[in-house]
Symmetry: C2
Amino acid sequence: MTTSKQLFTHISSEGQLSISLNEVEVAQPKPHQVVVRIEAAPINPSDMWPMFGPANLAEAKLNDDKAQLTAPVHERLLQSVRTRLDQTLPIGNEGAGIVVAAGDSPEAQALLGKTVGVLSGAMYAEYICVPVQACIAHNEGVTPKQAASSFVNPLTALSMVENMRLEGHKAIVHTAAASSLGQMLQRICNDEDIPLINIVRNKEQEDILKAIGAKYICNSSDENFRADLYKAIDETGATLCFDAIGGGEIASHVLTAMELSGTKEITGFNTYGSEANKQVYVYGGLDMSPTTLNRAYGMTWSVSGWLLNRFLARLEPKRVGELYQKIANEINTTFTSTYTDEISLADVMDPATILKYNAKKTGSKFLVNPTK
Amino acid sequence: MTTSKQLFTHISSEGQLSISLNEVEVAQPKPHQVVVRIEAAPINPSDMWPMFGPANLAEAKLNDDKAQLTAPVHERLLQSVRTRLDQTLPIGNEGAGIVVAAGDSPEAQALLGKTVGVLSGAMYAEYICVPVQACIAHNEGVTPKQAASSFVNPLTALSMVENMRLEGHKAIVHTAAASSLGQMLQRICNDEDIPLINIVRNKEQEDILKAIGAKYICNSSDENFRADLYKAIDETGATLCFDAIGGGEIASHVLTAMELSGTKEITGFNTYGSEANKQVYVYGGLDMSPTTLNRAYGMTWSVSGWLLNRFLARLEPKRVGELYQKIANEINTTFTSTYTDEISLADVMDPATILKYNAKKTGSKFLVNPTK
């Protein structure tokens, strides 16, 4: 177990992306480290940009020995990845496995043999040596596959609710709401009686959310979408939105509905709009086109980027520990994830497979199993 | 002095704007109130929307007796002024005059005979009764004309600097920077050694700012604008922008330059961009077209509305008092304003004059003198 197969990404300043499966040494664990045999690592939307950058995946090709995938990056797009050019970098944000070796500290030793969820950025590998702090220890009987998505989606969903409370909002609007993350958020909101307005774009997504007890669902493909959205926002008093889409007018539509609700009883000039801060946090970029804001919502609004790690830094470490424990306790209920495909490390480089997992289709979710 | 001529605005639900010059009673001052004979009230960009809403001013007409101006409001625009329909409302955000009567309290009595700047929303009038708290008492020898713009521009410029400090930024980017407000901000920044990056759109505006000692001026009409902007932002470390324009891509260009500067020494993925919060506050709407954000600046950015009164509410009352005193002491230096035209209350309703003061041209500034 001194070496491990691991996937790496590289973009050259000449404009070529390479994904390679390399054999690397596994480090000996220091006192507060453990070595994890990785058995399950999801392919999340947030893995796509580190893996591929702006490469043209339609032209991706496997080398003859199938140990390297290459794809061209257009010269004018190289600027967007300038900080990483000519560097060989690991991939795979999160995953889970079994602790097979541990450093001398009691905290590390306590994890021996256990299933842990890990956040490391280098999870598309057979083995990894990580600090104990990068792990969530799971309860007896939880499998690596069940624990594979312990961090990104569960912590994001929980943090949205923490963020709501921290900034004094009383309801949440969520876009692209039928995602795995959206389903977790709905379950949390069900448990804690938080009004959640789910924006989806088709009937199938509506059905996914209805099945888990969603009360407010607005379908952006419906003719009455904006009226429905207004009604839900007015009924709940929502002034906070988490937007996974980013591009287009959805953030602006949400703010407009919040403003209409917030000013419905005002008389007089109302030159500057409603007093409550109306906040949209853009946490994803499913639509990479520009965000268009019509600013028809007075002067008290904000559209901001949102990043899990930077939000977690605003919480007390004790509170973060409580969230970890909640994730471990509810990994098979609130935070359950389902996967449609389970693939090997080598499969990650298969051009046809890439096109599938890069499509980010609702309901389709890939799991990498490095033991395959 | 029991009655006063005063301008009022009215938009009917049938879609007609009316501006009228009416005779109204002046209230007797209560203990903490004073009556001010208004001698000078500026026409600020922030007065335009309350006065005219979305009326089509190209079709404005004076009635035969010249006591009322009317203009049509297109039906589809009535929604944007729904809270004020069918109400007769006063206009004129700020101005200055002489205190001619005062309530019994020592604070009110102390103002008798003095020049005061007033913030009231009803300053296009001969007389007004206001609370002492709505006044800035000026020093001996200051005329109402010199004191006319004591609130909106001086407090906004001072608040931008307060805001910068409160949120830990070290420099400011300002758009439409050759305005009266922009010049005040430059003078404050000169005094306090704060790097200020002025964005203007022509040579004349550059010259205005150069003449008062501006170091960083970026002309958006120049071919090298974005390179110049980057250089200035990189040199100053600016992560805060106050934007008077609102529409178009300027906010996005500023954020892009901040991001490029913030990540110039980073290596590796840089998936989520620079760590510093990059903040644009939109405080005006010189361009009413949508704001377009390309989001090429990682996940730590924010574009927000900004409103003077809501910002001032974040400061200690003591600090606000200090700002008032600074304004009184520096009304003829840091906070000096110049006016190109002085008009009567009746002139405010003249269709040709309206087109001039509504043009918001740099260098052109109108003052209403109700004693004319």
